[in-house]
């Protein structure tokens, strides 16, 4: 990836890769919740927006330094994630899906309507960029390294979490909540903790997004964004860390590639989503691995 950052010098491609990084953070966080703990969320754009608007408001209205707003935003996301997660994760299935969906829509309405602070529908402008000494982190190469550095950090962190005691508890919870509770796992607490963890990752992605772009508007954090996040996880492959990277890349690049279809873009996007899910319900990672295994088995047997 680092090599890619040095090689790619075209600003458009750099920007695209940076956005893929941000989406990977989002997908990875949601995958911890959905893939491992088996809890669906159709409102995670709320936390993405919380990070972006949190830092946006603190730095533009209250003149905080971006470095001071970072811990504030993350702590706030962690707390609100836990406090919201505790009651809402008592639900399951469609009820949980609907509860989180509602949460996402309410938060989006707050971004859109609370215009004294959020700038309303037209958005919040003039968010200062991150600075390290004299270096300004913008959408170019510096932003690329900042985002992908964070992604690598969280890849390692999530990999460690998944292989730890907590990771095993999470998978137990995902497989059978009853059995997990019977083996002494405090499921309500654990669910809220992982919800909070994924909220922090989404908020961090939002924080980076806001400072790199310098401008945010409510439409980036709406219901469709939540759906896009779920799609990244499912298309990439549930309970797969690399799947998050693949899913985020595909879902980010797809609209760029589909520009050639111009007016048919939306139709083709919907079709691809359906076809992948019909034929590779386990996601691309698992689907491709299985296909490889099958071909190998066939060549070995013949």
């Amino acid at each position: 990836m680092a090599a890619l950052g040095v090689v790619v010098s075209n600003p458009y491609e750099q920007q695209l890769l940076t956005i893929i990084g941000i989406h990977t953070l989002l997908a990875l966080g949601l995958n911890m919740l959905m893939g491992y703990a088996g809890q669906i969320s159709l409102g995670h754009a709320a936390f993405f927006g919380l990070g972006a608007y949190g830092t946006g408001i603190l730095t533009t209205h209250f003149q905080w330094s971006p470095w001071a707003s970072l811990p504030a935003v993350l702590v706030f996301a962690a707390l609100s994630g836990y406090l919201i997660g505790r009651p809402i994760l008592r639900l399951s299935g469609y009820y949980l899906a609907m509860g989180t969906l509602g949460l996402g829509i309410i938060v989006h309405v707050v971004f859109r309507e609370w215009d004294t602070f959020t700038g309303g529908a037209s958005g919040l402008v003039g968010i200062p960029p991150l600075t390290v000494g004299r270096l300004m982190v913008g959408l170019g190469r510096s932003g690329f390294f900042a985002v992908w550095g964070t992604v690598v950090l969280f890849f390692v962190l999530c990999g460690r979490v998944v292989d730890s005691r907590i990771g095993r508890a999470l998978r137990a919870l995902g497989d059978s909540p009853g059995a997990a509770a019977a083996s002494g796992i405090h499921t309500a607490h654990l669910k809220a903790v992982i919800f909070s963890f994924s909220a922090v990752m989404a908020a961090l992605a939002g924080y980076l997004y806001a400072h790199l772009l310098g401008f945010i508007s409510p439409s980036s954090f709406d219901f469709l964004m939540s759906i896009r996040m779920v799609t990244m996880v499912v298309i990439g492959g549930m309970a797969s860390i690399w799947g998050s990277l693949l899913g985020a890349s595909v879902i980010t690049l797809l609209p760029e590639w589909l520009h050639v279809f111009s007016d048919y873009e939306m139709m083709v996007y919907g079709l691809i989503l359906m076809v992948v899910m019909i034929f590779l319900p386990e996601g691309l990672t698992r689907g491709v691995l299985d296909a490889v295994r099958r071909t190998r088995a066939r060549t070995a047997s013949s």
């Binding site: 008592r90 609907m98 509602g102 499912v234």
Partner: protein, 292 residues
């Protein structure tokens, strides 16, 4: 007082439509345990189809109504056959994403066919002169809406309780395998549920078209509101859907009237969150919330 009555009346009107959309969700959920995220798109297609056949082609309203509903019902069948039947392991999340894909696809098709502009659609009522009611104005279209919704609700209720096909469908809803053992063609019942559910969506679209503008992207929010109403009343309960829909419509209308129009969408989901946390099964739902 007359102001309150006005909000109440307009709330009941939109609420009745939410209830009908919710009913569409319920019919399908009972038969298949599936929530179709493309339901809102059926509503949109019903409205736009009615516009094209009625206003552009110039068919009489009743014919345009029937034709639009039939076409959308066929689309519902097609969705089951083409996109959902071939799934080998019908995991709920997979099915959700497929219907989300279908909704994006249908929205794309509608954008190609009708463009991005909203259309205003002529109502079913012959006169547009409002009826005065204790100082509040009641549009004739509202009477039509409530009448049609009540008619479909009763019709569906009678269908389920009095006809053989309806009883067979209820049996499938209770236990698919048990119904199959008793010789009910449960496959065909599922197809019927898809057609019925899409058709109900289209009816909602036709009757809501005259009171809002119709455009290719109207479906998403309407679908979510309908889903919200179904949850509010208790997923799977028909009378719950009606109650949830009207409650939602009235609360929204009061929220818009007394606070601001911007919070409209938040009201519905705020109520829903409270209900889900306090009484997860919904107002009229069975108490166990375990089915996906």
């Amino acid at each position: 007082m007359s102001e309150f009555l006005q909000f109440l009346l307009s709330g009941i009107t939109t609420g009745a439509i939410y209830g009908l959309i919710a009913l569409g969700f319920n019919v399908l959920y009972n038969a298949t345990d599936l929530i179709n995220f493309a339901q809102g798109e059926f509503v949109m297609l019903g409205g736009l189809g009615f516009y094209t056949l009625g206003t552009v082609v110039g068919w009489p309203a009743a014919a345009a109504f029937a034709a639009a509903v039939c076409v959308v019902s066929l689309l519902g069948l097609l969705l089951e056959r083409v996109a959902l039947r071939p799934v080998k392991k019908p995991d709920p999340l997979t099915l959700i994403i497929i219907t989300v894909g279908a909704s994006i696809f249908l929205r794309g098709v509608a954008m190609r066919l009708w463009g991005k502009d909203p259309y205003s659609v002529a109502g079913l009522a012959a006169s547009t002169e409002p009826v005065r009611l204790w100082g509040a104005a009641l549009m004739p279209q509202s009477l039509w809406i409530v009448g049609i919704v009540v008619a479909f609700m009763t019709g569906l209720h009678l269908f389920g309780k009095r006809t053989l096909t309806g009883k067979a469908m209820e049996a499938c809803a209770i236990h698919r395998n048990a119904a199959w053992i008793l010789g009910i063609p449960s496959d065909r019942m599922v197809l019927l549920a898809f057609a019925l559910s899409a058709g109900l969506g289209a009816v909602s679209g036709v009757i809501i078209a005259p009171i809002t503008m119709c455009s290719y992207d109207m479906g998403t929010m309407l679908g979510l509101k309908g889903f919200c109403a179904a949850m509010l009343g208790g997923l799977g309960s028909h009378w719950g859907a009606a109650l949830g829909g009207v409650l939602l419509g009235v609360l929204e209308s009061l929220g818009v009237g007394y606070f601001s129009s911007g919070i409209k969408d938040a009201v519905a989901f705020l109520v829903l969150l409270v209900i889900l946390i306090v009484r997860p099964a919904g107002l009229l739902g069975a108490s166990a919330v375990k089915r996906f």
